[in-house]
């Protein structure tokens, strides 16, 4: 009992510590700038939704969220479409250099995104992809596909090869087997891979900002407009921050039971 109490206290303290910055952000988003800069208050004294109204009524603000969601979705779809067959191949077949290739995939993630900035910019603008959603989605694939392959390979290796063979004996063609039997078996792995792809793409700013100007401008780039020569618009910045957390929260909710497995790259 005593032990439980102490454990409960520890967890509570831990959660409070974790939640404090997020609470502060939420708190600020409901305050006026005057209050934020004027005094220290733990609850909004003059509760206001004006900061949110600014974002939801101004197309140049909310289109940032739409743009971000579009390229993130495209990215997740491409990542899964490419990574699933790749991961299957790495798990099931042996070919010359497979181990090296597998490791090389991950090494793509070892280069900081800044390295690819100018080459990507040059490349995309010469083929007319600059400032499009697909450009950002493709750029993010460089980092997401390897990770997804690694995660999915773990999950796929967890499925005994006998399933494949049994399906073959039962007369399933390979595509039918893959879609009808195999994918449902690793669906939690797919969820986790999608989650990681989403997370990376959603918070990545450097590439997203450089490869866009107006039509596909991500929310992160739009948020910088709260900083001007006459100070920072803290209230709107906080409101925008709260709104960027929401989609992540939603996605986490869907894959909450599988995240730990995902971190172990599927090897349970």
């Amino acid at each position: 009992m005593n032990m439980n109490k102490r454990k409960g206290f520890g967890i509570t303290a831990y959660i409070i510590l974790l939640m404090l910055p997020i609470y502060w952000l939420l708190n600020m988003s409901f305050k006026t700038n005057q209050e934020i800069l004027g005094q220290l208050t733990f609850f909004p004294q003059n509760f206001t939704l004006a900061n949110y109204a600014t974002i939801f009524t101004d197309p140049s603000w909310y289109s940032g969220y739409i743009n971000s969601m579009i390229y993130v979705s495209i990215n997740v779809v491409i990542t899964l479409l490419v990574a699933l067959p790749a991961a299957y191949a790495f798990s099931r077949y042996k070919f010359v250099g497979d181990k090296h290739l597998f490791f090389w995939l991950l090494s793509n993630r070892m280069a900081p995104p800044a390295v690819f900035l100018l080459p990507f910019f040059q490349l995309y603008s010469s083929i007319g992809l600059f400032d499009t959603h697909i450009a950002v989605a493709l750029a993010h694939c460089l980092f997401n596909v390897p990770l997804a392959v690694w995660i999915l390979e773990g999950f796929i290796s967890g499925v005994p090869k006998e399933y494949d063979e049994m399906a073959y004996i039962d007369g399933y063609s390979f595509p039918k087997f893959f879609v009808k039997i195999f994918i449902p078996m690793i669906r939690s792995g797919i969820g986790v891979a999608a989650f990681f792809a989403f997370m990376f793409s959603w918070v990545e700013l450097l590439l997203a900002r450089t490869l866009t100007s107006v039509d596909a401008q991500p929310i992160g780039a739009i948020m910088t407009r709260t900083m001007g020569a006459s100070g920072i618009d803290w209230g709107v910045l906080a409101a925008a921050g709260v709104l960027t957390i929401l989609p992540g929260l939603l996605v986490v909710w869907f894959v909450r039971n599988h995240i730990a497995t995902g971190f172990a790259l599927g090897r349970v």
Binding site: S60, R209, S213, I222, T224, R225, A229, G231
Partner: protein, 580 residues
């Protein structure tokens, strides 16, 4: 046969109907644009230096000039301040309604604007069709040859697309956007200055005045020199300490290691102390950054090369910055950035600030603030910045930020010309007075002298008086001596931070800065990337050689703290009016 007969008839009929409807739709369009002009002029731009007829004439010119670009969509970008927000939210819409050209006026933070501009310069690929870029980059633009000078445009491909009533002479910031080759590179669209800010209500209090006079032997008032500023700072922070039960300070500043620390210095701090040579808008041959030019070619910034970045006036200015921050500012100021420190004086505990941007005017006269009276007039005033001991008549005295339309050669001609129309629209006399009243960043002499500005003056704490005074020419942006603003400006905060944190002395920090600047210029010289007037560094020689020559770099003064001098604010205003 019968059929064949009918066919041309049907064709004729269709063509006729088509032509008629086309004509009608053209008619409708013409009306649509003039209706929009009528609506915008009477609803939004009612306050103007032009009569309504003149306004409508200007608008009709825009409709006509934009005909060839109708239906086009252009993208322009600027930093975020109230003026550009007005342009983006109101003027861009009005322009679209009146001309049929769709404008996306994108707002991002200034650092990102520069980044986009640099990306476009380096890659030669079009990102934005027009940039609003501070004129501090004038030295960069005319050297790299990637910008289309607007004076070339006006005489060249935009000859028929230049507003007859643009009236370039009316712009107060045109000197700042003109390069040594005599060409105008950028078109100013907003300006704000860096001035001295003080609590006029406290400076008027009899008890404080008597106390000050007793202690320092002269009157409390607007400081004319840095000695007086220092005395007043000490007076409030050390001796007065509390007013009406609240702790007060005689100085406010910021000192965190952050890029914004760079502006604190590159925005003319050394020139306020007296660094650099005489000359307006910028000192020649040595400017306030301490960069010496010979025949427009930068030759060095270290004293040993004839520059003044680490000369005695610069060291003095840095020393004073460090001392005042430590001794007289609130303790938390040391850890603040520009945007954190900016709103602090509005909270009512600061008596004066030597380095204050007028961009804060609007946020400091909001009702309910401790620094605003019940009737909405401010308790504070702005005044000319005090001068350091090295300052001489004929030098610049402060900084002015001049956001200006900038067009790149890498932008396709059509798009550039359409953006040029929008740029002119944002500064046209029809809209510029209204824009000035909203954003408080005047660009036209006619606006400053307007009655509407006189009416607004009491609430603006001296802004109007300042811009009407002939003294305003002493406030100017970074000049043409700086060959690559983005590359050089980013050095400053890193070296200044060493002095701010006490890790190095000001002299050591500035020696490092001067050397780093010379290194960058050396690299520019070697790479030979600049078309004209690229750096050509002097060989280093004994510092005394340069210090013994007249002008900058100036030798150290024996007495850096002369007698403090102040002036009553009313006297100051009068002296401005007299010289008018």
């Amino acid at each position: 046969m019968f059929k064949n007969n009918k066919y041309p008839k049907a064709l004729l009929l269709t063509t006729a109907v088509g032509a008629a409807s086309l004509g009608m739709s053209l008619q409708a369009h013409a009306d649509q644009y003039s209706d929009a002009a009528e609506k915008w002029v009477s609803e939004e731009f009612a306050t103007s230096t032009l009569s309504k007829e003149e306004q409508l004439k200007e608008m009709a010119w825009f409709t006509e000039a934009a005909k060839q670009f109708r239906g086009m969509e252009i993208n322009v970008v600027s930093e975020t301040i109230a003026t550009h927000e007005y342009e983006s939210n109101v003027l861009a819409k009005a322009f679209t309604d009146i001309t049929g050209i769709k404008v996306n006026h994108n707002l991002i933070q200034e650092g990102d604007v520069i980044e986009k501009l640099q990306t476009q310069m380096q890659s030669g690929r079009n990102i934005f069709d027009g940039f609003i870029n501070d004129s501090d980059l004038i030295g960069t633009h005319y050297r790299y040859g990637q910008v289309v000078p607007i004076s070339d445009m006006i005489e060249g491909d935009a000859k028929d697309l230049t507003l007859p009533t643009l009236d370039l002479e009316d712009f107060i910031g045109l000197d700042f956007t003109t390069a040594p080759d005599g060409k105008i590179y950028q078109l100013p669209t907003q300006q704000f200055a860096n001035l001295y800010w003080f609590r006029a209500d406290w400076f008027e209090r009899e008890d404080l005045k008597a106390q000050f006079k007793e202690r320092y032997g002269y009157d409390l008032g607007v400081p004319v020199n840095w000695s007086a500023y220092e005395d007043i700072a000490e007076f409030f922070s050390v001796h007065v300490k509390e007013i009406d039960g609240e702790r007060v300070y005689g100085h406010m500043d910021y000192g965190k290691k952050d890029p914004s620390l760079g502006w604190r210095f590159t925005d003319a701090w050394f020139s306020m102390a007296g660094g650099g040579d005489k000359g307006l808008p910028n000192g020649l041959p040595v400017d306030e950054w301490g960069i010496r030019v010979e025949d427009c070619r930068p030759v060095g910034s270290s004293v040993t090369r004839g520059g003044a970045t680490n000369a005695p006036p610069a060291v003095y200015a840095t020393q004073k910055y460090v001392d005042w921050l430590r001794k007289y500012a609130p303790p938390e100021a040391q850890g603040m950035t520009f945007s954190e420190a900016g709103p602090v004086p509005a909270q009512g505990n600061i008596a004066q600030q030597i380095f204050w941007y007028t961009a804060f005017t609007a946020s400091m006269n909001k009702e309910g603030l401790p620094v605003v009276n019940a009737d909405g007039t401010p308790k504070w005033r702005m005044a000319p910045s005090p001068k350091g001991p090295y300052w001489e008549e004929g030098m610049k005295l402060g900084y002015q930020d001049v956001g200006s339309w900038t067009f790149m050669k890498s932008t396709p001609k059509e798009r550039r010309l359409a953006a040029w129309l929008y740029a002119q629209f944002t500064v046209a006399k029809t809209v510029s007075l209204k824009k000035t009243l909203v954003g408080l960043t005047p660009i036209r002499d006619s606006d400053i002298r307007s009655e509407a500005m006189t009416d607004a003056a009491p609430k603006l704490g001296g802004l109007v008086e300042f811009y009407r005074s002939p003294a305003r020419v002493q406030w100017s942006p970074t000049g043409t001596n700086v060959p690559d603003y983005p590359k050089l400006a980013q050095l400053w905060w890193q070296y200044i931070a060493q002095a701010a944190s006490g890790e190095r002395t000001p002299q050591q920090a500035l020696d490092g800065l001067a050397e780093a600047q010379d290194k960058i210029m050396e690299r520019l010289e070697r790479a030979n990337v600049q078309d004209i007037c690229g750096p050509k560094l002097n060989e280093p020689r004994e510092a005394s050689y340069w210090l013994d020559q007249p002008g900058s770099p100036k030798a150290k003064l024996v007495n850096e703290k002369p007698q403090g001098v102040t002036v009553a604010y009313e006297e100051l205003l009068k002296s401005w009016e007299q010289t008018e």
